[in-house]
């Protein structure tokens, strides 16, 4: 297998605490060694023959980004996305590993469905794809899916995607049952009755616009229940898309008490508030909804102190026609893989809320720890999944040029600074913004 010499970049590896200008040698698909960089020096003479040299001067060399939940839509919703396009979008966003949600049709609630996800990922040969298995059959929330069979089929964690498991008895049994596989349950913690019919955050903006709101309490209440059940069962629960101040505070307290709860946040919930709904734009309709500024501040505090240890794109591609309808019938979600890193930079790095090490931890070692996978670090002998980031690259989001099959982004035509420029998976350059010399 070929070798890579990535020279002169700022190597930021949160897992090992490295943040320095260094050269990185990759060989046989693994990180081989890290070398102190000396300016002007040419690559060492003893590099293996045929080593590809990448000049990373001015770039950040990060462990390959990892996304905890992405909807790839295949099978069942091929008009929105297929594995090939979704994984291409992941690479263009700097992601080397994504966990694929189980909300396909049919849902991933059996072994062969999980194996199909992996098969399509192998065929696409873009980024790594780890299936998430359903917690309950057909996401109905009543009977457990064949969790052991799903593990055999490659499922790394369990989730009913955007369908909350409202029956506490079912959730309790699921948390108990998954303990023997040491795999977490990814839950969308919302009280269905408080979410029903809502299209945006409940607050002044919703009142003004006459739109039905989803109160913060919808998430707060379910977060509290999930924490109580995690404590009762000693199971592992991961809360997806945390958006409220009170949820962050409950998770912080629970973690301090040793309860096995983790949480993630999406980049768009860190940047946009409920005021974006004033134009009734279906592209801004997400679930959970965009909240108000005080909630965003609490989310940022949660990221700073590690209460929230991962950022997920929560990629929700929807075909153009599905979003070109009235607000109440339009589906929730945004097509976000290709803008996630840039939105994070805008929301977290530019205002000085997080350091690069903190941000990249939430995109690499943090999600790797939640998934329990040996990835998300540049330590020698780790898989050579690497993302090169140009922190100063100015670009304009052009949804028409997305690698994703869908275009539903509220960031179209917006200018961002910083993005992934090269994505390396298994020691191979799988994607680069510009051709490499």
């Amino acid at each position: 297998m070929s070798s890579l010499w990535i020279s002169g970049g700022r190597v930021v590896d949160p897992a090992s605490g490295v943040d320095e200008i260094a050269d990185l040698l990759v060989s046989s698909g693994k990180i081989a060694s890290l070398h102190r960089h000396s300016a002007g020096a040419s690559p060492p003479a003893d590099l293996p023959a045929g080593t590809q040299v990448i000049d990373a001067t001015g770039l950040i060399v990060s462990p390959g980004l990892i996304d905890l939940h992405v909807s790839l839509r295949e099978p069942g919703f091929e008009e929105d996305e297929v594995t090939a396009t979704g994984t291409a979008a992941a690479l263009a966003g700097g992601f080397c590993t994504i966990a694929a949600q189980s909300d396909t049709n049919p849902v991933v609630d059996n072994r062969s469905a999980a194996e199909f996800i992996r098969l399509q990922a192998d065929r696409a040969a873009n980024c790594r794809v780890l299936p998430l298995g359903a917690v309950t059959r057909q996401h109905a929330g009543t009977e457990l899916a064949e969790i052991g069979q799903l593990v055999d089929g490659g499922a790394v964690a369990f989730s009913d995607a955007k369908t909350p498991i409202s029956n506490s008895e079912v959730m309790r049994r699921a948390l108990e049952y998954t303990r023997m596989f040491n795999r977490p349950i990814f839950h969308f913690s919302m009280v269905p009755e408080l979410m029903e019919g809502g299209v945006m955050h409940e607050g002044f903006e919703a009142t003004r616009l006459g739109l039905r709101g989803i109160p913060a309490a919808a998430q707060d209440i379910m977060t509290g229940r999930d924490i109580a059940l995690a404590e009762l069962t000693e199971g592992r629960i991961h809360l997806m898309c945390v958006t409220t101040r009170d949820s962050v505070s409950q998770i912080r307290n629970a973690r301090a008490r040793g309860i096995r709860v983790t949480a993630d946040v999406t980049p768009h919930h860190l940047l946009l508030t409920d005021s974006v709904m004033s134009t009734f734009d279906t592209l801004c309709k997400t679930n959970p909804p965009f909240r108000s500024r005080d909630h965003i501040e609490a989310l940022i505090e949660g990221l700073k102190d590690g209460t929230i240890s991962a950022i997920s794109s929560d990629h929700q591609p929807h075909s153009f026609e599905k979003k070109q309808v009235e607000l109440d019938v339009a589906p929730f979600g945004i097509c976000s893989l290709e803008t996630t890193l840039s939105v994070c930079i805008r929301a977290l790095i530019e205002p000085g809320h997080l350091t690069w090490t903190q941000l990249l931890a939430a995109l690499t070692s943090g999600p790797a720890a939640i998934l329990g996978i040996a990835a998300g670090t540049l330590r020698p002998e780790s898989p050579a999944d690497i993302t090169l980031i140009d922190p100063n690259f100015e670009w304009t989001v052009d949804a028409t040029r997305f690698a994703s099959r869908s275009r539903n982004t509220p960031f179209h035509n917006q200018v961002f600074r910083g993005r992934a420029v090269v994505t390396i998976v298994d020691g191979q350059v799988r994607w680069s913004l510009n051709p490499l010399p």
Binding site: G203, T207, L209, G210, L211, T279, E321, V325, E326, L327
Partner: protein, 323 residues
């Protein structure tokens, strides 16, 4: 009479009328003054004035309505326009054609202005983004109903001579009422004091930030108000229980003879209708001397004629310079 011969005294400049929130006090004044002018020239809306001759107006009603649709149709015809009615009670999606495609199809038949009633807030805004025609919001879900707000304000102004300094109570289901929102925006811009009154389940907590006062006790505010606008209980928009029984609602918030006697002696009683007799208002009050409910209906015609006229003046025409 030609469109541009009509004296329009105030500022306008809008291609669409989507809500009162985005209009200035001066623009609101322009509409009210034009409605007064049309009232003079048409003998209270009973005579035709051919300002929109040769234009076509489409009524796109995606939600049931008889009163508003009839009022708009009549207003357009009194102005000499051709009208076409399109009614679809269910979501366009269920029929396989999107709402926008339906509107584009109707527009392609040569329509100049579109009047849209829809159950979803923002639906007319979506049309305004996709159509060449002027769009007039005839009620979008629980968001706004600008012509209803205008006709309520016009009725108050005709009876009391002013808006500034008046205290107006909007009573009832504020949460689900587009009429309430349009009234609030219009009345506040024109200098009125607005009190919203109803059970806490029907008044969103944040409504104060719009600049209104909130009261849960109708009897306490009764002596202070110059006008009471009794909003219809929107049984069809309520999900679940917002109050225990109609009888309890009527006893707490219904306008009856007893309350009329305790109100100011010249209090004006409005109701956007259709009224639920015996719920928000007793027949004694509805048909009594304080009620201006039927005036509201007549004024609605004038307001809608004024709005159509203003939008027609700003419309985009395929052949530049025409009009």
């Amino acid at each position: 009479m030609q469109l541009n011969e009509l004296p329009v005294t105030g500022p306008w400049g809008e291609r669409h009328l989507l809500g009162l929130e985005t209009l200035s006090a001066e623009q609101l004044g322009t509409i009210l003054d034009l409605a007064d002018e049309l009232r003079e020239r048409t003998e209270n809306g009973t005579r035709r004035i051919e300002l929109l001759k040769g234009l076509a107006v489409a009524n796109l009603f995606f939600e049931n309505s008889t009163r508003t649709r009839t009022s708009f149709s009549l207003a357009a015809r009194r102005l000499g326009a051709d009208t076409v009615d399109f009614t679809a009670s269910s979501s366009s999606l269920s029929k396989g054609e999107t709402f926008i495609d339906t509107a584009r199809t109707i527009e392609a038949m040569g329509v100049d202005m579109v009047i849209c009633r829809h159950r979803t807030p923002g639906a007319p805004h979506l049309l305004a983004d996709h159509l060449r025609s002027g769009v007039l919001n005839a009620g979008d879900g629980t968001h706004e109903h600008p012509t209803q707000g205008l006709l309520d304000i016009f009725t108050i102004r005709r009876h009391l001579g002013r808006i500034r300094g008046l205290t107006v109570a909007l009573v009832g289901d504020i949460r689900h009422s587009r009429v309430a929102r349009s009234n609030i925006h219009g009345l506040l811009k024109l200098g009125a004091r607005v009190i919203v009154c109803g059970p806490p389940t029907l008044i969103p907590a944040d409504i104060r930030r719009l600049g209104v006062e909130v009261a849960w006790n109708f009897d306490e505010i009764l002596p202070e108000v110059d006008c009471v606008n009794l909003l219809r209980v929107q049984f069809e928009r309520q999900r679940g229980a917002f109050f225990p029984s109609i009888a309890e609602y009527a006893s707490l918030f219904g306008m009856n003879g007893d309350r009329i006697r305790r109100a100011r002696k010249d209090v004006l009683v409005l109701a956007p209708g259709p009224i639920n007799r015996g719920v928000e208002i007793t027949p004694e009050v509805a048909d009594g001397p304080h009620s201006v409910i039927l005036d509201q209906v007549t004024n609605g015609l004038l307001i809608r004629m004024a709005c159509l006229t203003l939008l027609a003046r700003e419309r985009k025409t395929p052949e530049a310079g025409a009009a």
